[in-house]
Symmetry: C2
Subunit: 80 residues, 2 copies
């Protein structure tokens, strides 16, 4: 069966996100009252699988994220 | 009023996404039947604003995306 998968990988709470800090500062300099800007890493793909949750969790641990510094979440929807 | 904003910036349809191609290939080499992997750019932040949609649209045009090559979408939710 075919699935549409969206994975979001975030730095764990408290870890420094320099890219987010710079972009947040640039937006404030443009006059927007932005706070706490973070730049998570996103992945969107289609997956042919009989056990999609298990496979996506494996992909995150093996390749898409670093369990030491990242947390992740995913959305898995059937492709019609 | 305070809002929680999530912006997703994607390369327009048909444009080359080399990072996505490499990651998709790596996942297939690990044995996953992954197809069409893309790596959109995501931004998550809080915004203090009386006209959040207008401001977020401006931010995308001015800084977060390049209208020539990107499309974008955003989700804006009130912070309780």
């Amino acid at each position: 069966m075919k699935w549409r998968v969206t994975v979001t990988v975030r730095l764990k709470e408290g870890l420094n996100d320099p890219e987010g800090r710079v972009i947040g500062k640039a937006l404030r300099n443009l006059g927007y009252a932005v706070d706490g800007l973070r730049v998570p890493k996103c992945f969107e793909f289609e997956l042919e699988s009989e056990r999609p949750e298990e496979e996506v969790e494996e992909m995150c641990r093996k390749l898409l994220a670093n369990p030491l510094i990242h947390s992740w979440e995913y959305r898995i929807e059937p492709v019609s």
